[in-house]
Amino acid sequence: MKDSRLTQYLPYLVVGLLALFPLVESTFYMQLLTKVLILAIFAMSLDLLVGYTGLVSFGHAAYFGLAGYALALMAPKYETVSLWWSLPASIGVCALFALITGTLVLRTRGIYFIMVTLAFAQMLFFIFHDTKLGGGSDGIYIYAKPLMKLGEIEVANLEKLEHFYWLVLILTGATYLLLHRILGSTFGRALLGIKVNEHRMRALGFPVFKYQLASFTLSGALAGLAGYMAAVQYGFVNPEILSWHQSGAVLMMVILGGMGTLYGSVIGAFAFVLLQEVLSNQAWFGIAAKHWQLAMGIFIMLVALYMPQGLAGLAQKFRRKPAEEAADE
């Protein structure tokens, strides 16, 4: 293939450029980009479920938000907390919650699965919204960013925007590589098989439920990683971060980017946030900017209708030879 070298090096080029970004721009766009990368981790975690395991979750924000709350509740109020234990602990809480909810929700399929995942997310939402546990609807402030110290040496100072940005960039890359590795293994192939036909996989001797549960738990844990980072970035958590809007938004990112491609989720996160920024720009769209969700909705509909493979599918289309396309039909 002619373009194989380009496709091979393109990801490194993109990551390299992103790594250099803080040198040219310091505040607003760097923060925006940090947000995008965090959402990219979140979207990739959902793609593992939707795109690779064939399970459409409509409650993925539960794990995202839970990690944020875990950090907020574990951190002493006016002291800094170490990232070395608070991050694994928050992810662990999410993984455990995913493991428990997974054993229940995975007994359902299709529309019921969507509804039950939504129900669990809503339960969590109301626990934090209606009880004093997490400060009710006001949420909790996280006054200090977590510390990254090895002995006396400070590895990174997360109060500095660029340090935090680089950390998130590294974690996004690590998440991609981890998922890429896992999905390329027999485990990943088995998930793809399960997505197509569960019975067939059982008849082949695969314990389908265990595979799905492993995927669900890993997905919840990675959503937790994203949620932790989001909580650190904003410096507070409130019930909104685990609301169904959030679950819907991340699902839209995955669909927009292209399900089952992993990098599509990253593209989807970029596209979603960018669109949101552009469409809600009052200088460009005036009064319509207030109703940016309407334009966004139309855009998502157009993508679903004319680009069912999402933006990643569009990229693939240009890359592939026509013969391959014909053979696919």
């Binding site: 197509v196 036909n197 067939r200 059982r202 008849a203």
Partner: protein, 272 residues
């Protein structure tokens, strides 16, 4: 016992017959020493329902190690339901399925499959979103006794056509190739029993013949097979034993030549 034609399940010596059954008898004789007495599957008194429809009416069915069984019957007589019941894909309301002597009537399908049973379902069971290589490698595992006779290389050697298409997507294969891939994938699990449900359905005669010759090779390697196919002559030529289902009941169970020699039974049970 619902066996109306209560013949012993072991292969009988071939008796004299007409010209037409010469071929089938030759095969029967050749394989007579094969099957051992170890039971891979022993199902008794199976009653299976789909909702209120009573599909299987007390079916007894057993497979010995190394044995080849032709499971026959017209459409809708319960062949596929029986296979699915054996694998736990459908649960019987009554009766028992023993796999290698262990009661697995309520066991999970994957646990049954892991006791050495490979199922090639009706309609091609490939995974279109995986390449040919991935389809095969994914399924690889050792047999129940740790055997790894069938590995990637041997499967490719048996199905050279697949070797030419390793990186193609499953959906890009022809019907015959898809069927070969499904059988090849089943062999990757190193089974003791291979269940083939309509493996040659909808295939061009030449391709179907290729599949039959592959089934023969598999049989010769000592793997027991249960074959369901519309091509009764081909099934009976290969099978030590034939089992005929009519309306969810076993109406014949015995030596294949016993059935193929008897025009009246063939007509009554199978309509040919």
């Amino acid at each position: 016992m619902t066996d109306q034609k209560g013949l012993p399940p072991s292969p009988l010596p071939a008796e004299g017959g007409d010209h037409g059954s010469l071929r089938s008898r030759a095969v029967t004789v050749q394989s007579r020493g094969g099957p051992s007495t170890e039971l891979l599957i022993e199902a008794t008194g199976l009653h299976t329902f789909y909702g209120v429809s009573h599909i299987l009416h007390g079916v007894d069915f057993s497979v010995r190690k190394g044995e080849t069984i032709g499971l026959m019957g017209r459409n809708g007589m319960g062949k596929t339901t029986l296979l699915k019941t054996l694998l736990g894909l459908v649960r019987p309301r009554e009766g028992m399925v023993k796999v290698r002597g262990m009661d697995m009537t309520q066991s999970a399908t994957h646990a049954i499959a892991r006791r050495g049973i490979a199922y090639v379902p009706e309609g091609r069971g490939i995974f279109p979103n995986l390449s040919v290589r991935e389809n095969l490698v994914m399924a690889a595992r050792a047999g129940v006794d740790g055997r790894r006779e069938w590995d990637f290389d041997r499967v490719i050697h048996t199905f050279p056509r697949l070797g030419e298409r390793l990186s193609n997507g499953g959906a890009q294969l022809s019907g015959g190739e898809q069927q070969m891939l499904t059988i090849g994938r089943a062999l990757m699990t190193n089974p003791d029993l291979l269940i083939l449900d309509e493996a040659t359905e909808g295939l061009a005669p030449l391709i179907a013949r290729e599949i039959w010759s592959i089934i023969k090779t598999i049989r010769a390697s000592g793997i027991a097979t249960v074959i369901v196919d519309k091509n009764y002559a081909a099934v009976m030529a290969l099978a030590n034993r034939s089992v005929v289902l009519v309306k969810g009941r076993v109406v014949f169970s015995g030596d294949s030549s016993e059935l193929s020699d008897n025009q009246e039974l063939m007509h009554r049970f199978l309509g040919v």
